[in-house]
Symmetry: C2
């Protein structure tokens, strides 16, 4: 497991090198620090579920894997810990938090409120370009989910892109950040599940919810968009609560 982590980190380090160059051109003109880069890489790893709950990280190992000193890693880990995406135990150890069933339920209820609100706002404010982008993401997601065998990684990415585009379209940056933070917490659980249980993708509840969402958005039906998102979240959460192997606590 540790070995997998390191290989993942090295892999992402290379990706981030090129991706960083691309982002430097597109994104903010402000030069990003090394700490920002490490933060982004660890964040992507967590969001994609590449780091399993309970998995321990070592600042030195991570630093060596992506070829920087310990300092930027410390900064990144501290920020992720502030986000609740990592946990720094008093006993000199940092790990991916282990979520209990109760915590997962709470997270789901908050997601219903916050993402439902964002969906309703997005129905009012989304541009045509936003809706087109979401339709494309939905198309990619469905293709990946219905492939045989399902392309789980692509499905996870497309699913996130679909949701992120929706929430960004609400036009409330702070709300978007808060939701992203929730996804960061849920990522290890949700995506680990999606990858381990690809059959769920073929069930179609997600595809169905996404279709209903797009239909609602096209007629600016805020309540309908909220219902669609709530159905999507609830279905996924119910499945994970059953099979996610969460601690009883």
């Amino acid at each position: 497991m540790k070995i997998n982590v390191q290989s993942d980190l090295q892999h992402l380090a290379q990706d981030a090198f090129s991706a960083g160059g691309a982002l430097a051109g597109i994104g903010s003109l402000a030069k990003e620090t090394l700490g920002d880069r490490v933060y982004g890489e660890l964040r992507a790893l967590l969001m994609a579920g590449k780091l399993a709950p309970g998995e321990k990280l070592s600042l030195r190992k991570v630093a060596e894997a992506i070829d920087v000193s310990m300092m930027p890693v410390r900064e990144a880990v501290n920020r992720l810990a502030a986000d609740g995406a990592l946990e720094v135990l008093p006993g000199r150890a940092v790990r991916v938090p282990i979520m209990s069933l109760g915590q997962f339920h709470e997270l789901t209820r908050i997601r219903l409120v916050l993402e439902g609100f964002a969906a309703e706002e997005a129905a009012r404010n989304a541009s045509e370009a936003d809706i087109v982008a979401m339709a494309e993401a939905e198309h990619v997601f469905r293709a990946a989910a219905e492939a045989d065998p399902p392309k789980s990684t692509e499905a996870v990415t497309a699913n996130h892109q679909l949701h992120a585009t929706l929430y960004r379209a609400a036009g409330m940056p702070t709300l978007f950040e808060m939701i992203e933070r929730l996804w960061l917490r849920a990522g290890p659980v949700i995506n680990l599940d999606m990858r381990n249980d690809v059959e769920r993708l073929k069930g179609g509840s997600a595809v169905q919810a996404h279709a209903a969402l797009l239909a609602a958005l096209r007629v600016r039906d805020g309540a309908g968009a909220r219902r669609a998102i709530e159905a999507d979240i609830s279905a996924a959460a119910a499945h994970i609560a059953r099979t996610g192997g969460l601690a009883d606590d």
Copy 2:
């Protein structure tokens, strides 16, 4: 201004020394790091509105003021920046974020959703002890607000305690943390306003909302509790939007 900040920091450093000792006995048995202590002090400063929006901080000055090295301050500032409570500008500067009117409106809308939800949950789950604690906080708040001259600092503290007790009573720790983070962002604006415009306290809209809240809680009226909190937030936000001196952007 800078001088005030430093004196505030030194003041809090002394307070935190004794408070830390008390907390060590009451709170988590895990020994807190220096970084945690600095984080708590800066957080308290921000929450109380002692640091004005736009005010610049210096890692070295803060470190010297509370007599630690730069490292714990770096960690604390990074965590606060992740919370959105501080801002690290690319151009080697860290400051309290300046909130625009639009950002404040967004923050208020999110607060209405999140704190309204928490109030509704609290109405279901609050214990008698919780309600008693809130009644006491309300009493302290009213006394401080109606005194002549109004004791603004005490009022701010009591107000926060009242709300915090309510949200904690919802029994959703993650939700509570998210709300606290919102307060941390709004703190510099809200409390700076409360201190500068103590007359608002005498207006009674807050006192009125608090009374309605307690009445609703006592009969487990979730919808009523939500309405009371929404009224409290809306009234305060409307006042600040008028007189808070927020940037137009």
